[in-house]
C-alpha cells in the first residue's frame, strides 16, 4: 500500500512541475508589456514602470524568476496582489473556505439526485421511467448553470422568499448555489450510475444471487449497487475539479464570495499575481484531490494496487 502511495505521489510530481511552469509563463505570454498592461489604469511614468518591474523581479534572468516563483509557492508565498496590495495567499485563504463549502455541498446534492435517478433508470430499463430519467439527465447536461441559478433566484428568492438571492455566509446562502451547481453535476452521475448498474446487473454473480433465491432488492442493494458505484467514485475527483471550476460561474450568479469571484475580479483588473496564484492553487488542489481519490480507491479495491 505504501509503495502504491509513493508511486502515485511520484507520478504526479512532473505534472505539478508542469503546472507551475505553465502558470509562471502566463505573464510572458501576454501580448505586449505585462507591466504597462497592469498599470494602464493608473499612472504610466517610466520610473513607476521600472519600480513595478523590480517589485515583480521582472528585471532578473527568467530562470531565477521561475526559481523564485516555485520557491515562494512552496513556502506559501504567491506574491502580492496589485489591486489590494495584500499577499495573494491571504486573499486565497479568505476565499477558499466558501468555495470548498460550495463544492462539497454541490457534490452532496449531485450524489443525492444522480445516484437514485441512475438507479431507477437502470432498474426499469427501457420503460417510461428510464426514458424520463435520462431525459432529465440530458436536460441537466444541456442547462447553463448560470441560467438555472437565475431561475432558482426567480422562484425561491423573489417569489417564495425562502432563500436569499445573493451573498454568502450562513447556510441559507448556501442552498441555492449548491443546488444550482449540484443539479448540473448530477446529470453526469445519473448517466454513469445507469450504465454501470446495467453492466453489473448482467454479471454472473448477480444471476447466481438471484438463482439462490435472494430477494430482488437485496441483490440490487447488496451485490449490484456496491459494485456499480465503483466507477462512480472514480469520477469523484474529476467531478470535484469540475465543481471547483463551475463555482467560478455560480459564485458570479449569486454574488457569493469565493475563489471564482477572486479570479474573475483579478482578470478584469489585470491583477496578474492574483490570477496566477489562484489558478495555481486550484490546479494543484485538483491534482492532489485526484491522488487522494486514487489512493482511497486502492484501499477499497485491492485489484487496483496490484495492477
Amino acid at each position: 500500500m505504501l509503495i502504491y502511495l509513493a508511486r502515485r505521489v511520484l507520478a504526479v510530481m512532473p505534472v505539478l512541475f508542469g503546472v507551475t511552469l505553465a502558470v509562471f509563463s502566463m505573464l510572458f505570454l501576454v501580448p505586449g508589456d505585462p507591466v504597462k498592461m497592469m498599470l494602464a489604469e493608473f499612472v504610466t511614468m517610466p520610473d513607476q514602470i521600472a519600480r513595478m518591474r523590480a517589485e515583480l523581479h521582472l528585471d532578473e534572468p527568467i530562470v531565477m524568476q521561475y526559481g523564485r516563483f516555485v520557491g515562494g509557492a512552496l513556502r506559501g508565498d504567491l506574491g502580492t496582489s496589485i489591486r489590494s496590495r495584500r499577499p495573494v495567499t491571504t486573499e486565497i485563504g479568505e476565499n477558499v473556505g466558501s468555495t470548498m463549502l460550495l463544492a462539497a455541498a454541490a457534490m452532496a446534492v449531485a450524489v443525492a439526485i444522480g445516484v437514485p435517478l441512475g438507479l431507477i433508470a437502470a432498474l426499469s430499463r427501457n420503460s417510461w421511467l428510464d426514458v424520463g430519467s435520462m431525459a432529465i439527465a440530458l436536460l441537466g447536461v444541456s442547462m447553463p448553470s448560470f441560467w438555472l441559478g437565475l431561475l432558482l433566484i426567480f422562484v425561491f428568492s423573489l417569489h417564495l422568499a425562502w432563500f436569499p438571492a445573493t451573498g454568502g455566509g450562513d447556510l441559507a446562502h448556501l442552498v441555492l448555489p449548491a443546488v444550482t451547481l449540484g443539479t448540473i453535476a448530477s446529470a453526469i452521475i445519473a448517466r454513469l450510475t445507469r450504465s454501470s448498474m446495467l453492466e453489473v446487473l448482467g454479471q454472473d454473480y448477480v444471476r447466481t444471487a438471484r438463482a439462490k433465491g435472494l430477494a430482488w432488492w437485496s441483490v440490487v442493494v447488496r451485490h449490484a449497487l456496491k459494485n456499480a458505484l465503483i466507477p462512480v467514485i472514480t469520477i469523484f475527483g474529476l467531478q470535484f475539479g469540475n465543481l471547483l471550476a463551475g463555482a467560478v460561474i455560480v459564485e458570479t450568479v449569486f454574488s457569493r464570495p469565493g475563489l471564482g469571484r477572486l479570479i474573475v475580479g483579478g482578470i478584469l483588473a489585470k491583477d496578474f499575481p492574483l490570477v496566477q496564484g489562484t489558478v495555481l492553487f486550484i490546479a494543484t488542489a485538483y491534482v492532489l484531490i485526484n491522488v487522494l481519490v486514487d489512493v482511497a480507491y486502492a484501499v477499497v479495491d485491492p485489484r487496483i494496487r496490484l495492477a
Binding site: V19, P144, F146, V279, I282, Y286, V287
Partner: protein, 289 residues
C-alpha cells in the same frame, strides 16, 4: 473501417449510416432543432423586425405582446431580435472553437500515437499538464492572458479543448496502428505519410465526429458562461450569455430579458447533445459510457 474499399461500397456504407441515424429518434429531434436554429441564425437580419442594438428608452421593459413578441429590455431593445442574432453569434462561436480544437488537437494525437516513443512521451506530458486545469479554468487562464473579448473567448475555449481531442485521436491511432492492414501496407513499402492518411486517419474520423458534435454544445456553453461573467462579448453585442447577465438585474420586473436567451442556449446545447448521442450510437458504440 472504410479504408481501401471501392467508392461504391463506401457510398453504401455512408447511406446505411444515415439511414441508421434517421432511426434514432433523439438524433432526428436534434437535427430538426439545429436546422431551425441555423435558419434563424442565417435569417436573423431579415426575420428580426427590429435592429437588435437600437435602443428606445421610452419603450423599455415592455412585456411580451403584440408590439414586442418576446418583450423589450432595459434599454427598449427588442428581445426577439436580440435572441435571433444571438443564435448567429453562438453557432459561430461553437463552430470556430471546435475547429480550433480539432485543427490543433488532431495532429498532436496523430503524431503522438503514430510515432510513439519520445515524441509521444513529451507531447503527452504536456497534455497531462493542461488536463490538470479542471473545466473552465484553463479557458479562464487563457482569457486572462489574451485579455477579455469575444474573439479571445473563442480562442480560449478552443485551445482549452485541445487536450481532449489529442487524447482521443491518440487512442484511436494506437488501436489502428496495430491492425494487420497497416502492417501489410508497411511490408509493401508504404511511407509513413501515406499509411497515416490512407489507413490511420479513416479510423480516427468516427470518434472525432461524435466528440466534435458533443463538443459544439460544450463550447457554446463555456463561451456563454465566460460572457456571462463579463469576460466575453462586450455591449451592445446581442450575445446570449451577456443578455442573461444584463437581465439578471431586472429579474423581478422583467423575467423575459434573461429567460429567452437562456432557452436559446439550452435548446442549442440540447440539440447538439441529442445529435451527438445519436451519432455515437451509430458510428462508435464503444464510446457509449
Amino acid at each position: 473501417m472504410t479504408a481501401g474499399v471501392s467508392p461504391a461500397t463506401q457510398a453504401a456504407v455512408q447511406t446505411s449510416t444515415l439511414r441508421r441515424l434517421a432511426r434514432q429518434r433523439g438524433a432526428v429531434v436534434g437535427v430538426l432543432i439545429l436546422a431551425a436554429l441555423a435558419l434563424v441564425a442565417v435569417g436573423a437580419p431579415w426575420l428580426g423586425a427590429r435592429n437588435p442594438i437600437k435602443t428606445s428608452p421610452r419603450e423599455a421593459l415592455q412585456p411580451p405582446g403584440a408590439r414586442f413578441l418576446l418583450g423589450s429590455d432595459q434599454l427598449g431593445r427588442d428581445v426577439a431580435s436580440r435572441v435571433m442574432h444571438g443564435a448567429r453569434i453562438s453557432l459561430t462561436i461553437g463552430l470556430i472553437s471546435v475547429s480550433i480544437a480539432l485543427v490543433t488537437g488532431t495532429p498532436i494525437g496523430l503524431v503522438s500515437g503514430f510515432y510513439g516513443g519520445r515524441v509521444d512521451a513529451v507531447l503527452m506530458r504536456i497534455i497531462d499538464v493542461l488536463l490538470a486545469f479542471p473545466g473552465i479554468l484553463l479557458a479562464l487562464a487563457i482569457v486572462s492572458v489574451l485579455s477579455p473579448g469575444l474573439n479571445n473567448v473563442m480562442i480560449a475555449v478552443g485551445l482549452a479543448n485541445v487536450p481532449a481531442y489529442a487524447r482521443l485521436t491518440r487512442a484511436s491511432v494506437l488501436t489502428a496502428r496495430e491492425q494487420l492492414y497497416v502492417e501489410a501496407a508497411r511490408a509493401l513499402g508504404g511511407r509513413d505519410a501515406f499509411i497515416l492518411v490512407r489507413y490511420i486517419v479513416p479510423n480516427v474520423v468516427a470518434p472525432l465526429i461524435v466528440t466534435a458534435t458533443l463538443g459544439l454544445g460544450t463550447a457554446i456553453l463555456a463561451a456563454a458562461a465566460l460572457s456571462f461573467i463579463g469576460l466575453g462579448s462586450q455591449p451592445p453585442q446581442p450575445e446570449w450569455g451577456r443578455m442573461l447577465a444584463e437581465g439578471r438585474d431586472y429579474l423581478r420586473e422583467a423575467w423575459w430579458i434573461s429567460t429567452f436567451p437562456g432557452v436559446g442556449i439550452m435548446l442549442t446545447v440540447l440539440a447538439m447533445n441529442l445529435l451527438g448521442d445519436g451519432l455515437r450510437d451509430v458510428l462508435d458504440p464503444r464510446l457509449k459510457h
